[in-house]
């Protein structure tokens, strides 16, 4: 297989980088900000590929930064390292501005929040959307179909990522993408503005939890088991890790599937 290519349904799609586009004298409609988890974490890479397939499928001209992308600085900022955060932010802004980026989509709510809310004060002004918002738009404009497929009649629930939901008030976009699946959409006991964290935020992903009765993702499993969901939809690579670990903890891998909204939409569209 060639470099930078993925092959959905035997058709090869090229993942163009900004550098390549620039060299060809072209400009993308939108920059796909992949994020560290989406780039390196094996499970999250599948989300990245699913979303790239969707972008290709609907004919959106997109590009990635590739090796020029670097951590937004989110985990550093949440953990109190403002220096490191601002160093990351400023060098990322230099790269983004050099490519005259106007619009960014990302599948990570942490990157989304940081790029959207915290870069402007440091001079980086972009229109930033979360991939579930783009998927909702694509469904509404008829570019993505969303009926049934494998999910018909299945019980699906959505786990709100903190930095998408409470952090930025986005509750409807991911639900819209699930509502039209012809599936049985159920809400978790703690959902939307009352949603329970997966336990990864604020730098927790990178450290051992403090002493307690249990881990946060195990607490979250109470809601998921109670909802008797067949599929838990997520919209964040860190939630994906935490919820997956929770499912494994209860040996429910056979009964409960954890999928990102992008993976669900890609599947429904035969990608």
């Amino acid at each position: 297989m060639n470099a930078n290519t993925i092959e959905p349904m035997n058709t090869t799609i090229k993942i163009p980088t900004m550098a390549e586009m620039m060299a060809a004298g072209e400009k993308p409609e939108i920059l796909f900000w992949v994020g560290c988890a989406g780039s390196y974490d094996e499970r999250a890479q599948r989300i990245t590929r699913a979303f790239a397939k969707i972008l290709h499928h609907v004919g959106i001209k997109f590009a990635v930064l590739g090796t020029e992308e670097s951590c937004t600085g989110d985990p550093a900022k949440r953990a109190g390292n403002e220096f490191l955060f601002q160093m990351q932010a400023m060098s990322n802004i230099q790269v983004l501005d050099a490519y005259e980026i106007k619009k960014i989509v990302t599948a990570c709510p942490h990157c989304f929040n940081t790029l959207k809310n915290e870069y402007p004060e440091l001079g980086g002004n972009y229109e930033v959307i979360h991939h579930t918002q783009l998927i909702q738009e694509l469904i509404e404009s008829g570019k993505l179909k969303a009926e049934g497929g494998d999910f018909k009649g299945k019980k699906i629930t959505f786990h709100d990522p903190c930095y998408l939901g409470r952090g930025n008030g986005v509750y409807e976009a991911p639900r819209k993408a699930l509502e039209i699946l012809d599936a049985d959409l159920v809400e978790l006991k703690r959902c939307k503005s009352n949603g329970l964290c997966c336990g990864a935020g604020g730098g927790q992903m990178f450290k051992e939890p403090e002493k307690g009765k249990k881990d946060v993702n195990i607490e979250r499993m109470d809601d998921i088991l109670q909802a008797k969901a067949d599929v838990v939809a997520v919209g964040c690579p860190f939630c994906m890790t935490m919820i997956n670990d929770g499912v494994k903890h209860f040996n429910k891998e056979q009964e409960i599937e954890v999928l990102d909204i992008a993976e669900i939409s890609a599947k429904v569209n035969g990608l």
Partner: protein
């Protein structure tokens, strides 16, 4: 005449003592760092109208929310009656506003109905605390004083409302008897049912009416002076606290301009940072390092525990409790205030908010999920204090757990929180 003098002295004393305490609180709040929260005034008025005046976040929990609205409306509206009581007290009149006729009757009737609703609300609240023992009202930070504070407030409210209704009942009975200056005024939809419980002798009735009148107003004046020492101060601070609350997306953490200047200087040697106006530390070790809004937050907290009850760390048995963060901040600020009273400004007692009040274990258990700020009925932000304490630990002390330090150096050297090569960033595109 003597009564008028006693009343006027009591009123004046109460107002002066209250002002002294409020001044102290304002001084303490101003120990915090400056921050601009006067932008977007229209949105701020709207937020205050919705959240404080309209109690929009209270009703998220319907039982407590509706009962709270009873007590809140009762408090606000029955205080109109206090105006009449004060005028009567100072000038020796009786029911000075009774010339309003049927409107007066309407007012008195509304006060009575509200007083009954307040009683219902307060009794439900007492039951939730004393009989049902709701989990939300306990926790490590709910030591003897916070628990009794809550009970005192509720008992005082029961007493005040009972005195108000008994006073009206005695007055009404005297009106019916056509006694002396008890002219027919008002309408008594609630207290009329108490008539049977009262003696028939007009002398005893006058005594009861006067005694309740004095108890009611002196009780209110005493309660006023209890507020600055109590969590009940929220009835005042809820309004400015919501006005000055954070209007940005919750996910957005404040930008530290002090850091921006240093980072700019590092990236661009020609950049000359503006002269620092005040030499401060990065992040917060003690209350003076926090901003005044965070300190006002601490005085506004009424310790309801909605934040703690939704905190993922607290729910899974970790030490962190956002309510404790706020209570510790207030306690420490009070202590710094007392030190200032005794030894003058800038006295160092060798203690600090971090470590002497809030432990490292607490601040590092936070997932920054914003459940606490979402749950707070008066827009208090415990998360910003946690983050400021973390900033101090990281940037001033480099005192963090090894794994977080590893994450920092990965971000710095590899551009990712994990130890992967930046050259491999696009590898996801080469697999399927």
């Amino acid at each position: 005449m003597i009564a008028q003098i006693i009343f006027s002295i009591a009123l004046l004393t109460a107002v002066i003592l209250f002002s002294i305490q409020v001044k102290k609180i304002i001084r303490n709040i101003n120990l915090g760092k400056d921050t601009n929260r006067s932008d977007r005034p229209k949105e701020r008025w709207l937020t205050m109208a919705k959240v404080a005046l309209g109690q929009s976040k209270m009703v998220v929990r319907p039982v407590a929310g509706i009962m709270h609205i009873f007590v809140y409306l009762g408090f606000v509206i029955i205080n109109l009656e206090v105006l009449e009581i004060i005028i009567d007290g100072v000038f020796g009149t009786h029911r000075i506003f009774s010339f309003l006729g049927s409107f007066y009757s309407f007012l008195i009737a509304s006060f009575e109905i509200l007083a009954l609703l307040v009683l219902v609300g307060v009794i439900v609240f007492l039951a939730r605390r004393v009989v049902l023992g709701l989990k939300r009202f306990s926790g490590v930070e709910m030591t003897a004083w916070p628990k009794s504070d809550a009970i005192y407030i509720l008992v005082i409210e029961v007493l005040l409302m009972s005195a108000f209704l008994t006073m009206n009942a005695a007055d009404y009975k005297l009106q019916l008897a056509g006694y002396s200056h008890y002219l027919t005024a008002g309408s008594f939809p609630v207290s009329q049912y108490l008539l049977g419980l009262l003696p028939n002798s007009t002398e005893s009735l006058v005594f009861i009416e006067r005694a309740c009148w004095w108890f009611h107003i002196l009780g209110i004046l005493a309660f006023l002076n209890y507020l600055p020492f109590s969590k009940h101060f929220h009835i005042i601070l809820a309004f400015p606290n919501t006005w000055y609350s954070n209007l940005n997306a919750k996910g957005r953490f404040n930008n530290m301009t002090s850091v921006t200047n240093e980072v700019k200087a590092m990236l661009d040697p020609s950049f000359t940072p503006p002269a620092a106006t005040e030499i401060g530390r990065f992040g917060a070790k003690d209350v003076q390092d926090l901003n005044w809004v965070q300190l006002m937050n601490a005085y506004t907290c009424t310790e309801c525990g909605r934040c703690t009850s939704v905190c993922p760390a607290n729910q899974t048995g970790k030490l962190l409790s956002p309510r404790k963060i706020m209570m510790d901040t207030r306690d420490r600020l009070e202590e710094v205030g007392k030190n200032t009273d005794k030894h003058g400004k800038g006295y160092d007692d060798g203690k600090s908010l971090l470590d002497d009040y809030i432990t490292r274990e607490e601040i590092w258990a936070c997932t920054t999920c914003n459940a606490c700020t979402e749950a707070c009925p008066v827009n208090i932000d415990p998360l910003s204090i946690i983050v400021d304490l973390r900033r101090y630990a990281v940037m001033e002390e480099s005192n963090v757990t090894g794994s977080l330090n590893a994450m920092f150096s990965n971000v710095e050297n590899n551009g990712a929180p994990w130890k992967y090569s930046p050259a491999d960033r696009l590898n996801w595109a080469n697999k399927d």
